[in-house]
């Protein structure tokens, strides 16, 4: 088996170099090592790319290039009239992958779905603690323990989720990596062999690619799942060549050692675009960077003060200096690729004169404040210190004196939550599931005050709208509610919305079929290499 595999890999790789036809290997220069291969246990995008989008599927999947869901392992679903029961009809004939020590005897059924969720919610399940210190971070983070009443097997191919309350984002949540469907039969086999940790090291699912091997911090190898329910992939082998430095990834891409890379250095993008062997895809990422005032403290409890400060910030200058153009100034708290983004909202104009007058009219003079700058680069803000310095200059123009403060990252996150925190905090968010609720309620709802709501902003009118939207299953109606909520947000200005960074994906010219995900995922089903 091993010999066969080696030969296949050698042959496949020979093909990349020679460009010959019969076996195609696609090499992705990934940015880091996966933490493991059980998507339920982790929260990093790198891990999801390596485990969830290759090996596994979910009941629903995100439609390529959008944040909308479409049928995955469930071919259809029904929602009860009270919005509390979701019944998923499973797709028949879905085959699991194989490993060198396990060949499945049956196709996907309801037991697999129930197992995949029960292990995360039920502390009695032997798989709940199958790795030391394992915790189901996303399952908890998305509020599933408090949300799910029960999961029932209606028949072999039907599963019913009963919820404790109405929650429309539930559908988007089951399309998230943590909700990947595992094989119960494979888990049973590992348990019987006393080898449970293998589930996190040798994953086996229904997805487009079958796991072959992981060489720690070096490479992950997959081959196309021959019996994939959605058709075999055009490429035969997929390799993640782990390359942590962006400049080196670029060199490898140029040298033809890989076909596609994530997260280029902003400074290299122009050269990439000019390179005849490469092409570059761009799209606003599903993220936002913001400066959150503490709206419970004077003078930031006054709308006019927040508005004035918002008008004083030259967002374009920040985008140019920090991202070298690879970002767009933000006007709404949700990114433009997300459904319900309110196009009609006008951003506060950059107008220092008007801002200064507005402050004076509000009776605020000699204002000194703190701006918190994150100590780390995040996708939505590559250099918070630089951005804070630019804002410091902007605010100086309207007579506001700024002191920039920073703390170690974990400490920063912790301290910035405090209700009595002083100053304005720079932070941001990358969407989890493409649902507007994941921004508008998670970051700005009244329940999140003292937590994710760094502005400590609780506006009843706004909160009623996002709560209603959460409980409404009709998407058109939800869209309207969220659009309205964005109007209130803009009027009240609890944040200065700074930017949405662009997600830039350079690849070799011969790559076809890659679709950029607004969720920031890198998934290679459907990808091919032109001859």
């Amino acid at each position: 088996m091993l010999k066969k595999m080696t030969f296949a890999a050698a042959l496949a790789a020979a093909t990349i170099l020679s460009g010959a036809a019969n076996a195609k290997t696609f090499v992705y220069c990934s940015e880091g090592s996966p933490e493991g291969f059980d998507p339920g246990l982790y929260t990093a995008g790198t891990t999801f790319d390596a485990a969830a989008h290759t090996v596994y599927n979910r009941l629903l999947e995100f439609k390529k290039g959008t944040t909308e869901t479409e049928p995955g392992l469930a071919e259809s679903y029904e929602v009860s009239d009270d919005g509390l029961e979701y019944t998923f009809k499973l797709r028949p004939g879905v085959k699991f992958q194989t490993t060198d020590f396990f060949t499945p005897t049956r196709e996907l059924n309801a037991d697999d779905v129930i197992f995949s969720f029960d292990r995360q919610m039920n502390s009695e399940n032997p798989w709940n603690q199958y790795v030391a210190g394992g915790s189901w971070e996303y399952f908890a983070g998305m509020g599933f323990p408090e949300l799910i009443e029960s999961i029932e097997k209606v028949d072999d191919m039907t599963v019913k989720f009963k919820l404790k309350r109405k929650e429309a984002p539930f559908l988007a949540n089951v399309a998230m990596p943590f909700a990947s469907v595992m094989s119960k039969e494979y888990a049973d086999k590992l348990e019987a062999d006393g080898n449970m940790a293998q589930l996190n090291q040798k994953p086996l699912g229904t997805g487009p690619f079958q796991f072959v091997a992981y060489q720690q911090d070096a490479a992950i190898r997959y081959k196309a799942h021959p019996d994939y329910w959605n058709g075999k992939q055009p490429i035969d082998d997929l390799v993640f060549a782990i390359t942590t430095d962006a400049a080196v990834r670029y060199q490898k891409l140029q040298a033809g050692e890989c076909h596609l890379m994530p997260y280029p250095n902003a400074a290299d993008v122009e050269a990439m675009k000019a390179n005849d062997d490469l092409k570059v895809m761009e799209q606003p990422g599903l993220n936002v960077a913001y400066l959150a005032f503490n709206t419970t403290q004077a003078p930031f409890d006054k709308v006019e003060v927040r508005k004035a400060l918002s008008m004083a910030v030259n967002k374009q200058a920040i985008v140019d200096a920090v991202f070298q153009g690879a970002a767009t100034p933000a006007k709404n708290p949700i990114p433009p690729t997300m459904w319900s983004y309110n196009e009609s909202i006008q951003d506060d104009p950059y107008d220092p004169e008007a801002a200064k007058k507005m402050l004076e009219d509000a009776g605020v003079t000699d204002l000194s404040m703190k701006i918190w700058a994150m100590p780390v680069a995040r996708p939505y803000m590559l250099n918070a210190r630089r951005a804070a310095e630019l804002m410091q200059e902007d605010f100086a123009k309207i007579g506001v004196d700024v002191e920039i403060v920073s703390y170690e990252w974990a400490e920063y996150l912790d301290r910035s939550k405090a209700k009595d925190r002083d100053g304005a905090v720079m932070l941001g968010w990358t969407g989890d599931n493409g649902d507007p609720d994941n921004f508008l309620d998670t970051l700005l709802g009244c329940d999140a005050v003292g937590g994710n709501n760094r502005a400590q902003w609780c506006n009843q009118e706004y909160d009623d709208l996002v709560t209603k939207a959460k409980e409404t299953t009709d998407q058109a109606e939800r869209t309207k509610l969220y659009e309205e909520a964005q109007v209130i947000f803009k009027r009240e200005a609890p944040w200065v919305t700074i930017d949405h960074s662009l997600s830039v994906v350079p690849m070799r010219k011969e790559v076809t079929g890659f679709v950029q995900s607004p969720l920031g995922d890198f998934a290679f089903d459907g990808v091919d290499l032109a001859e």
């Binding site: 080696t6 790795v131 091997a213 911090d217 490479a219 080196v248 040298a255 050692e257 400490e411 939550k417």
Partner: protein, 334 residues
């Protein structure tokens, strides 16, 4: 000899305990909460935080945690990573051979070039040759590694396409690790071209990691040599009419090597623990990068376990260096 060894081993025990206390406590003195970092920007509820802390054993008194950690180590259990949930010893043993292979090549590179360069510089003291070598060594010593590595990649891998950009072997070759040393495993695999590929992947990282030790060794050899060459016994040897080769190569070199070996021993330690930049540039799957990532993630078990393992290896290297002295200089034969 046995007494010397036992004596040295006895010193290792308190050193080991000291390292374990430092490794254990220093990382905890750094601000930053590993549990909170697990959820990133997403705020974790206090209940959930408490629950996970308890699962990881962080809710216990610090002394209990330390004793538990030591007890685990005595049983060969270095703990489990908070992030990857994998045993630390597994990860270390998968990554360490890569670091060791690179460090070995780099030290061979540094010694093979550094010692002769130092000797010639000493013999031709003050000459153009001496000044060139010492000037180059100074440049090498001051070289920012990250810049140097990228420069070599851009020139040799990008422009000339002589060497691969990064990694340990071409993706063409895939075989299960036997020893973890790619040069050996590629030979064992029997695949044509695998060894050549592994060797070509080693060239640039070896040069980058070996640059600073090369400079240090060359300078150290030169100054040790100069000192020895002015000794009376060297003059006597010359007066006896011995060939310059015997005078320098046999009489002088042997004594000059003592401080050089100390330097080499120290450089090995530096390279094992400090290959982080080289490993990052060349996507080299070794322990340097693993340790630094763990510091950023406050992965306490990895840091305390990894540091202890690295310390143990450095202590062993130093022990070997001490034994080597005896071989070279009979006066300190144990």
């Amino acid at each position: 000899m046995v007494r010397f060894l036992l004596g040295r081993l006895a010193v290792l025990i308190p050193t080991f305990i000291g390292v374990s206390i430092i490794a254990f406590s220093f990382i905890r003195l750094l601000p930053g909460d590993p549990v909170a970092l697990l959820s990133g920007e997403r705020v974790m509820s206090p209940e959930r935080h408490a629950q996970i802390s308890a699962q990881l054993g962080f809710d216990r008194p610090i002394v209990v945690q330390y004793l538990d950690y030591i007890w685990g180590i005595l049983q060969g259990d270095f703990g489990t990573s908070i992030v990857t949930k994998r045993p630390i010893l597994d990860q270390f043993s998968a990554l360490f051979p890569a670091t060791l292979e690179l460090a070995t090549c780099a030290i061979i590179f540094a010694v093979v070039l550094g010692i002769p360069a130092g000797i010639f510089a000493a013999i031709k003291r003050g000459s153009f040759f001496d000044q060139t070598i010492m000037g180059t060594a100074l440049v090498g010593y001051s070289m920012p590694i990250f810049w140097w590595g990228l420069l070599l990649i851009i020139f040799f891998s990008g422009t000339l396409q002589w060497t691969p950009v990064s990694g340990r072997i071409s993706l063409l070759y895939f075989f299960p690790p036997v020893t973890g040393f790619m040069l050996i495993d590629s030979l064992l695999s029997g695949q044509a071209g695998a060894f050549k590929s592994a060797a070509s992947h080693l060239i640039l990282p070896t040069i980058v990691l070996g640059t600073i030790p090369l400079a240090v060794i060359a300078r150290q050899t030169r100054s040790a040599m100069l000192e020895v060459l002015s000794e009376d016994y060297v003059r006597t040897a010359r007066a006896k009419g011995l060939s310059p080769f015997r005078v320098v190569g046999i009489h002088a070199l042997r004594n000059a090597m003592i401080p050089v070996i100390t330097t080499i021993g120290l450089q090995v330690g530096v390279m094992l623990a400090g290959a982080i930049l080289t490993e990052t540039i060349f996507s080299w799957p070794g322990i340097g990068k693993w340790m630094v990532d763990s510091v950023f993630r406050r992965d306490y078990p990895v840091i305390q376990g990894g540091l202890l393992l690295i310390a143990a290896i450095i202590m062993i290297v130093n022990l070997i260096v001490d034994l080597l002295y005896g071989l070279i200089n009979p006066r300190i034969r144990h």
